[in-house]
Symmetry: C2
Subunit: 357 residues, 2 copies
DNA sequence: TCCGTCGTAGGAACCGGTTGCCATGGGTGT
DNA sequence: ACACCCATGGCAACCGGTTCCTACGACGGA
């Protein structure tokens, strides 16, 4: 008997067990399973039978270490529960499997330490690429940390991809894919202003979050372009959740803020705000117009259907994977900026007879 | 110089590179990094410096094969985009990392072959557990396939977990966690009937899907319990998507079906149906009552807020991980059934003055 | 001063695969 | 009938770690 015989089923069997059962060497089993090497039909049959009887599957980790593994790719996000990121995860996952990669998903719940830890784990796993998604605070500390990670991954033959995150200093080995928050918000806000609205309430995200900042910049730029001076009191912020939108809107109403339209920084925020408006007995868009951002599927089913900005999240995920994996060592660092477009539905009306509250 | 020297950064470095740089043997490096073994302070310092200079991280695959790896756990679902499954994925992911496991996520888009392939890959990865989620067709072929997978995983020291899927024959090494679709649907439908509704339109999922079947059974059972004979014409089915709900409802309206309430098999379906009702100029709940199932966060933001059945998806995911990982070889096979409860919101009213269409 | 012991570090086997290189044996051409 | 060639399969090294076992040096005690 071999050093560790393994009769039949029960306990993972090794390639040596298969070899013993088939009466051949381990190399032969490997070659039969590998495919290319010429093996006689009789031997192949015996080996395959042994494989079947033992229900043998080669250990992927061992294969990986020997250099013939399934490559892996990591996807790190704040919270898989958010519809927009979920769509992105879907795109990533689809494209990864299409390209024969495994896909590790991790949500960090916004915890920076957890994120760091996870990236380190991914480096240990020798992931082909690490995709980070979602806005973050663009601090010096952030840049330093990310640069270190980028270098670290690059030197290990991997690649850092930032999606919708603040880009790093030029020269850092990183792929950046952004969707144009500012332009999208600009276009959306311009649409509101074109409808005659002059007091547009902005419901933002975390002030330090670059996605939130970009959308707020678009809001401000549109006002300037239309010669409207935006009232700072009309800019509220919390985070990108439905509850934040609900809370902020209740607060705005109870404070007696005057506005004829609301621009939420997220469809989720818009959903919460919409409910708060309904609860206050206000009609959308007759009393107040409302717009969101992201164009999540549910935006169509709000009542009234939500005017919003479409962001191609799934395509974004696909793109992130594709650009990261199709790299050759001398590919220049890419920085892609994806466009967005306004989707007009029923939640915005011209400021007309009923002039808001 | 060693067989493959690796001066400093650039190209992943091995433990031998670190050892060479620190002037010690690989075993010593391993021990310094491992922690427990006594190493002199001077040596430890030198090794740690070399590790830092080379930015070394031990290869997780190699560690795994040597028996000291981070355990991994796989989560397979139809589509991460669906809000309910996304919440479950979140629960799984959180609990997995809490227990120090890595979490592989794969969506199969309902493709059985793809699912099979992925499970095989997971077995090759020596995943500690494979969690399958989402209803499926309960055919003889399904049972045979799943039993084989369960045995196969069990014999490799792994574990199959079915979440919201048809259970297998007793004796199969599998953990089953179900949420009680029939009871939930029963309670919900009873609520509708108690409000005086007698013609309740049921918008189902795929007829072969066990989740859809369970909810339909609850619908029927509630009718029987209330002495109401359900009209078969009032049972439509497609799938669990928002678009299906929208389409089915349009169809029902154009066919002139008579009903005073709608019970959708999913909140997503309900959302689509609600929009179709609005488009037809019908008011909910004044003209028609509407109820969903799943209690996704958005259910509150539909207008009117959706009466639905709450399913603890995140908790379900946590539970799946916990029961799967806390197993000892002689733990009996578990079969958990989680309860649900009806959440009453504004989309259902007593059948009153306005008697539907 | 000599010996025993403890602390420390290295050598080598092993984890489960892959693959380069070589030996063997049967078949074929002349 | 002899030589040659090619098909086939085994040995051993290697991938990047861990860990058992052993050797060596320093120290303390007798």
């Amino acid at each position: 008997m071999t050093r560790k015989s393994n009769g039949d089923a029960g306990g993972r069997s090794t390639i040596r067990d298969v070899a013993a059962r088939a009466g051949v060497s381990a190399s032969t089993v490997s070659r039969v399973l590998g495919g290319e090497y010429p093996v006689s039909t009789a031997t192949r049959t015996r080996v395959m039978r042994a494989v079947r009887e033992l229900d043998y599957v080669a250990d992927a980790r061992a294969k990986a270490i020997a250099g013939v593994g399934t490559p892996t790719l990591a996807f790190v996000l704040d919270d898989i529960t958010g519809p927009s990121f979920a769509h992105m995860a879907h795109g990533v996952e689809r494209e990864a499997t299409r390209l024969g990669h495994l896909c590790l998903v991790c949500s960090t719940d916004g915890d920076t330490d957890h994120e760091l830890e996870f990236i380190e784990t991914m480096r240990a796993q020798r992931a082909a690429a690490v995709i980070l998604v979602g806005g973050a605070a663009d601090t010096a500390e952030y840049r330093a940390r990310m640069s270190r990670i980028a270098d670290s991954l690059a030197s290990a033959g991997s690649r850092l991809v930032l999606c919708g995150r603040p880009p790093l200093d030029p020269g850092t080995p990183v792929t950046v894919i952004e969707y144009d928050n500012e332009s999208g918000a600009y276009a959306l806000c311009a649409h509101l202003l074109a409808q005659g609205h002059r007091r547009v309430l902005f419901l933002g995200g975390k002030p330090e979050n670059t996605t939130a900042q970009g959308r707020e910049r678009g809001y401000l730029a549109a006002h300037r372009a239309h010669g409207v001076d935006p009232d700072p009191k009309l800019r509220l912020s919390a985070d990108f959740t439905r509850d934040a939108g609900h809370r902020l809107m209740r607060q705005a109403l109870s404070q007696g803020l005057e506005f004829t339209a609301v621009m939420a920084s997220t469809d989720m925020v818009a959903a919460g705000a919409l409910t708060a408006l309904h609860e206050a007995g206000l009609s959308v868009p007759d009393d107040v117009s409302l717009a969101g951002y992201d164009d999540i599927p549910f935006a169509r089913d709000l009542y009234p259907a939500l005017t919003t900005v479409h962001v191609p999240y799934e395509e974004l995920g696909r793109l992130a994977v594709r650009t990261a994996l199709s790299r050759t060592p001398d590919t220049p660092d890419e920085h892609l900026l994806l466009g967005t477009h306004v989707v007009v539905r029923g939640s915005v009306a011209a400021v007309g007879e009923a002039a808001g509250r």
